[in-house]
Each structure stands twice: as structure tokens, then as C-alpha cells.
């Protein structure tokens, strides 16, 4: 499906979310969400617990199926019957709060599995690629260890390298630093900042305001399944327009 949606800027958008609804039973986890992410754009998604942030990015990656509206990722419609969801997922990397590394595979094998089995590249090429990306997240000397032998921060950097090995066009992060001890948050954020500098399109669910200030083009604030406010980070943090955003910011600063 070479269907392309052109964004306001005239560039084809990386992600288009239109009137998306997601229900769990009678409960609407996402309620008429509209969001457009341009190529190379960096979005920080924040909001109180249960506001639907994870649900939204899981719908973008089609781990959850949306019930209404449409989602277009990298020009491919993710609505209704999808011919080949896996080809879309190849272009979208995802990093989870709980790392979700494969514990029975070494760090390098974690990074090599999908490129070999999905992209069909050879083992040696996959290993070269894995090592070079592990070097990029500064963890190449751990390549032959198993995930359980690494610290949380190291595991999360491996998870980032693993996603990058698929050479995705878009990266989604779901609270990548929330499960980490404070001293490890920095190393993961630095890795993400590096990625942003390389021009990756990123959607990050995070409450790290320093990170948002440094890299985000836009901060999107969600509450109770809706997008309540969208603004440049400076504007959002200095002068939030809505009461809900103000009280949320007060809570995370306190």
C-alpha cells in the first residue's frame, strides 16, 4: 500500500493518528486522539498514570489494535485488515519500560535475532551490525554476556541497540528510564539524546523534563485518554495552558 499522507509542512508524515479510539470493554483508554509526527520529529508524551500514553504508542506499533479512527505509519495504513504488519514493525523500533530482553540469548544474539530472521541477513553481517550498535550505546565489551548479568541501565541500552539493529525509521520509547535506579537514568538518556541528534524520528513517553527540554520538538500532554495540550517544551513547562497540565507538572516537580 504506497498510500502516503502529506503533513502540513508538505513532508510525508512518519506517523499519522486520526480520531483514534481504543476501548477496553466499556472503558475508553483512548478517546478521539489526533496526532501527526513528521519525519525526524521528536515528541515527548506525558501525562498522569492511566492516561493512555502506553496504549497510544502500543497502537502505533499495532501491539494493541485500535477500535476506531485510523493510524498510518511510514505511509502504511494500520487500520482494518493489514496485509503485513511485520513489515511495518520492522520500520518501528520499540523500547519498553521493563527492557524485555530475551534472557536466554546473549547481548549480541538479542541484537542479531530479528535482523537474521526477519531481514534475512547473514550471521556474520548481523554480528557486525550488532557490535557496531553496541559500541554506539557504549556497551560492546558486554556483547557475549547474558542480560541477567548486566545492570538495568546496561540492559536498557542493549534494548535500544537491539531495536536499532533493525534500522528502524521511527523509535518508540515507553518510559525507558522508569524502572532504573537514579544513577543509571543518565546513561540511558544520553543514549537517547545521541539518537535524537542523529535525526531519528522519536516518540518518547517519559517524565524526564530535562530530556524533553533538550530534544523534544513538541510535548504532548495526555489525560484520561485524550490529548489535552500540545506545545513546545519551553512553553509547556513555563506556561501550561490547562489546569490539568499545571497540576500534573506540580506533581512531578514537587
Amino acid at each position: 500500500m504506497p498510500h502516503q499522507t502529506i503533513s502540513n509542512s508538505g513532508q510525508p508524515a512518519a506517523i499519522v493518528v486520526e480520531n483514534v479510539v481504543k476501548r477496553y470493554g466499556a472503558f475508553a483508554a483512548l478517546n478521539d486522539i489526533n496526532l501527526e509526527v513528521g519525519k525526524g520529529e521528536k515528541i515527548v508524551l506525558c501525562g498522569p498514570s492511566g492516561s493512555g500514553k502506553s496504549t497510544l504508542i502500543r497502537c502505533i506499533n499495532h501491539i494493541e489494535r485500535h477500535d476506531g479512527g485510523r493510524i498510518v505509519v511510514d505511509g502504511v495504513e494500520l487500520t482494518g485488515r493489514i496485509a503485513d504488519i511485520n513489515s511495518v514493525r520492522c520500520e518501528v523500533g520499540m523500547v519498553f519500560q521493563s527492557f524485555n530482553l530475551f534472557p536466554h540469548l546473549t547481548v549480541a544474539e538479542n541484537c542479531m535475532l530479528a535482523p537474521m530472521k526477519v531481514r534475512g541477513i547473514s550471521r556474520s553481517e548481523a554480528r557486525d551490525r550488532a557490535l557496531s550498535l553496541l559500541r554506539k550505546v557504549r556497551i560492546q565489551d558486554q556483547a557475549d554476556k547474558y542480560p541477567a548479568q548486566l545492570s538495568g541501565g546496561q540492559q536498557q541500552r542493549v534494548a535500544i541497540a537491539r531495536a536499532l539493529c533493525m534500522q528502524p525509521k521511527i523509535m518508540l520509547f515507553d518510559e525507558p528510564t522508569s524502572a532504573l535506579d537514579p544513577e543509571m537514568v543518565k546513561e540511558v538518556l544520553e543514549t537517547m539524546v545521541g539518537l535524537a541528534r542523529d535525526g531519528m524520528t522519536m516518540v518518547c513517553v517519559t517524565h524526564e523534563m530535562g530530556f524533553a527540554r533538550e530534544v523534544a520538538d513538541r510535548v504532548v500532554f495526555m489525560d484520561r485518554g485524550s490529548i489535552v495540550e500540545e506545545a513546545a517544551p519551553e512553553t509547556f513547562f513555563q506556561a501550561p495552558r490547562t489546569e490539568r497540565a499545571r497540576s500534573f507538572l506540580n506533581q512531578i516537580i514537587h
Binding site: I63, N100, M166
Partner: protein, 264 residues
């Protein structure tokens, strides 16, 4: 007291040779039955967890049927009933198999397929025990369902269930004794034959008991080694405890009333 085992029997062999030949059939039945059980059990166990309705219903049916019919009845079904219900030519071919095979093949199928249904449930439990994030991470990387099962789910699930597979290994080798009811001269049958020929009941069954105990120890040790060999570095060891085996033993014992009587 075991001296009598080294005396010559009517057929010119020593009684100990009878026991060893019985041991051979017991081992062959347990060993080949195990691989049938493991192969089918893994496939059916996976089938229980897939979204495809046809597969999951078929797998469910398999498990319910084979797990809930007593082993002894299944043994009789394979031995007596199967040759009658298949087409005549095939039925006759089965009946005309030379002696040990005519009992061995049905016993092998019976124990293999029965144990498979038990292993399938362990495999399913292992798969369901994996964190959901593993499957999500695999999908997010674009792995299809075959690759996800092959490289992510099954290798982890099998490691997880090594302790409960230990009791299935124990189970299949103990259940081999049921094969004496369809005429396979395995270890228990040979012990009974010795006891009848020599009237040394205690010696005959004492020797068989010791052999069964040794086999159990060997199986247990082997599984402990396997558990250690496949353990993921950096993770805490899964406990391979005796209590688990004892707890899992319950159903096997219940499935053996007929065999027990024969032995008495």
C-alpha cells in the same frame, strides 16, 4: 540371597539374564517412548497456546482424551482393539508381528502418546508462565509467530519446565511396567517369571525393585545435569526438589491399579 539369580533356568540361561533382558525392554520402551512423548508433547503444548482455533481445539481434545483414560485401558485399546477397528489388511499385519514387537509397538505408542498429553500440559504451563513482554518485544521486532515460538518462547518455556519434565521421565519409565499386561517381557514381567520358576518371590521382586530405584536415581541425576547445562547464566537456579517429584507422582500411581494387582 540373590544367589538364586545366578542359577540356571530351564531354558539354559541364568535367571539374571532374564532380568537383564527385561531391563533392556524396559529401557527401550522408556527411551523411545520418551522421544515420541517429548516431540508430540511440545507440538501439542504449543497448539494449546496458539490463536488458531482449529489447532487449539485439536490440541485440547488430544490432551483431554489421552490424559484422562487410565494407562492400562489405553494399553488394552492399542493392543486388543486397534487391530479390530483398522482395515482388515492392516489389522492382520499388526496381529502377525513377531512376538516381542506385537507387544512392544502398542506399548510404545500407548506410553508415548499418553506421556505426550502430560508433557503438553507442562509445555503450555511453561509458555503461559513467560512474561507477556517477551512476546511483545518479539512482535515489536517484526518476528512472525513461527520465529517468535521457535526462537523466543519455546526455548525459554522448555528451560522453565525441566523440573516438571523430570517427573514425566520418572513417570514414563515406571509406567513401562504396565506393558506386562499385554505380554511384553519387561523387567516386572521377568521378575514375576523368576518368582514363579524359583518360588523366591522376595529375591525376584527385590532385585527388580533395586533396579527400578537405580534407574530413578540415574534419571534424576541426568535431569539435574540437564537443568544445570541449560540454565541461563546470571539467573538463579530453578529448584529441582524431591517434593515436586513426589507431588507429581500421585496421578501415576492411580493409573496403575491393574498393574499393581498383577504384581501382587
Amino acid at each position: 540371597m540373590f544367589g538364586v539369580l545366578f542359577e540356571q533356568a530351564a531354558d539354559g540361561q541364568r535367571y539374571i539374564d532374564w532380568l537383564l533382558s527385561g531391563l533392556g525392554w524396559t529401557l527401550a520402551l522408556a527411551f523411545f517412548g520418551w522421544w515420541i512423548a517429548f516431540g508430540i508433547g511440545v507440538v501439542v503444548g504449543i497448539g494449546r497456546t496458539v490463536h488458531n482455533r482449529v489447532f487449539s481445539i485439536a490440541a485440547r481434545l488430544y490432551v483431554e482424551i489421552f490424559r484422562n483414560i487410565p494407562v492400562l485401558v489405553q494399553m488394552f485399546l492399542w493392543y486388543f482393539v486397534l487391530p479390530e477397528v483398522v482395515p482388515n489388511a492392516l489389522g492382520n499385519a499388526i496381529k502377525q508381528m513377531p512376538p516381542p514387537w506385537a507387544s512392544f509397538v502398542p506399548a510404545l505408542l500407548c506410553l508415548g502418546l499418553y506421556t505426550a498429553s502430560r508433557i503438553a500440559e507442562q509445555v503450555r504451563a511453561g509458555i503461559e508462565a513467560l512474561p507477556k513482554g517477551q512476546i511483545e518485544a518479539a512482535s515489536a521486532l517484526g518476528l512472525g509467530s513461527y520465529a517468535t515460538y521457535r526462537y523466543v518462547i519455546v526455548p525459554q518455556a522448555l528451560r522453565l519446565i525441566v523440573p516438571s519434565l523430570t517427573s514425566e521421565v520418572m513417570g514414563i519409565y515406571k509406567n513401562t511396567s504396565v506393558a506386562l499386561t499385554i505380554g511384553l517381557m519387561e523387567l516386572t514381567a521377568q521378575a514375576r517369571q523368576i518368582s514363579e520358576a524359583t518360588f523366591q518371590t522376595f529375591t525376584a521382586f527385590g532385585a527388580a525393585t533395586i533396579i527400578y530405584l537405580c534407574l530413578a536415581l540415574v534419571a534424576y541425576q541426568a535431569m539435574t545435569l540437564i537443568d544445570r547445562a541449560v540454565r541461563i547464566p546470571g539467573t538463579t537456579p530453578a529448584k529441582l526438589t524431591v517434593e515436586q517429584d513426589l507431588a507429581a507422582d500421585g496421578p501415576h500411581v492411580e493409573n496403575l491399579p491393574g498393574a499393581m494387582e498383577v504384581v501382587k
